[in-house]
Symmetry: C2
């Protein structure tokens, strides 16, 4: 497959350049992109080194390296713009037309994109991460009153990373409760959950996929057997339907996708953003 | 302050539109943006509703709502484009010139941006989240051999959320160890840490800020007193310098910023991305 270098460059975290560049480049199937994120390029010295890196990659590939940048400082941007890459200057592209539409000059200050409301946002996130950790794996059901959402599903279906992602990204208080074999051999779901039925959201998973994940943790155990996984998933899905609990199948989704779908489907609103 | 509505719309997670839109709009100081992310707009019916929402916001504000979209489906994009917002079509803007540069048509398929390497990436992240949870708060020092980085610092300086963010975002194995009063009243740092001194990365924090955070958790305790916080921070920073441990001050940074700075400064490479 064709190889091509791609750089995501910023004088801040580089998250915007990387997120945008990544979603654009994955639209091109025939090329393998060697992607490199270079954050905090905030001095002329660093910029010169980065420009050299771009030139070297261009020479090695025999084709211009693709460069996405979100650099605010004009001198640094100028140095990068003189490299031999194919440059996509994100701020340049959009800020000028936005200034015109908003009839306002942009502040264009380094790191500005994360400055607003940062303290409040940080606090909400920390509180949400602590909440997710305290309420992981059915830890403290007495705190469910404070939860925005309670994820339920079988062991190893993706509850914990989803809760943590929701906490970090959206500031949402997400608890989770694993439905164990004991729970699934009884009818319905535990009373502690039924008391908060409006907050429940189900995760399910393909039993083959689940067995593979469990086998990595406890090889050749009953817990990891396909039979057991099939039983648990069938019982869980039955309950989701019986009790009208919304759910999604996590098998083919990334953590971001699971989390954003839950936010959308459950009508959850992010805190302090 | 001037108010203006802003929409981030996608037939996928909406993360790209939101990340880009957010970092552009925060460059404009004089306007308060009411931001709304609408992910999974993947049917004509949903698109029509969204277009109505945009029109309603435009009428209410008396100025065009700003609309960032990353919609792949042309029919859905067409409906949104006919709304009365000020539209910034992210894919349209960049994919055409990229196709020309790469001499290749883009696949333009819904949700494509997250499909590649997803399974491997998902597994790495889950493994990293589990690692961060197992190795939170000095949990299991015997696993430090497997860590990519070990964050050290006083209690409540931001270690846990940073480790989890690094795990989720970069697939990095990040452990953390809180330097307690006992540790700080002895010279140096615990032997278990010294054995992995190359992996240590310090977090520090402004003592006033620390006291405020601790007071929320344990009001009026010695733990939360400014005197205690000043002592701990001073002792921790002294050790970072003595032992040549790189560190950053978390006081004014978001979790993303702390995590990306550690990645850059410690020369860490993300896994499976």
């Amino acid at each position: 497959m064709n190889k091509r270098s791609a750089f995501f460059i910023s004088d801040g975290t580089g998250i915007t350049a990387e997120t945008l560049g990544n979603s654009l480049l994955t639209q091109f199937d025939g090329i393998h992109f060697e992607m490199l994120t270079l954050p905090y390029v905030d001095t002329l010295e660093k910029a010169i080194k980065v420009a050299e890196q771009i030139d070297a990659a261009t020479r090695a590939d025999g084709a211009a390296a693709i460069v996405f940048d979100t650099i605010v400082n004009p001198e640094i941007r100028e140095i990068i713009s003189k490299s031999n890459g194919y440059k996509i200057d994100v701020f340049e592209t959009f800020l000028k037309p936005l200034e015109h539409e908003l009839q306002l000059h942009s502040s264009y200050s380094v790191g500005k994109s994360h400055a607003i409301n940062e303290t409040r946002r940080y606090k909400e996130r920390i509180a949400s991460v602590n909440f997710a950790l305290d309420n992981d794996d059915g830890g403290r059901i007495q705190q469910y009153g404070k939860a925005d959402v309670i994820l339920i599903g079988v062991s190893r279906c993706g509850k914990t990373p989803t809760c943590l992602y929701m906490a970090l990204q959206f500031g949402v208080r997400a608890a989770n409760y694993p439905l164990t074999i004991d729970d699934l051999e009884a009818p319905g779901i535990p009373e502690a959950l039924m008391a908060h039925s409006q907050k429940l959201f189900g995760l399910t998973i393909d039993p083959f996929h689940l067995a593979a994940i469990r086998n990595e943790r406890r090889p050749n155990s009953r817990y990891a057997s396909l039979e057991q996984c099939e039983f648990e998933v069938r019982e869980v899905e039955k309950r989701f339907i019986q009790l009208g609990i919304q759910s999604i199948n996590t098998t083919h989704f990334s953590v971001e996708e699971i989390a954003t779908r839950i936010m959308a489907n459950a009508g959850l609103v992010r805190r302090a953003v």
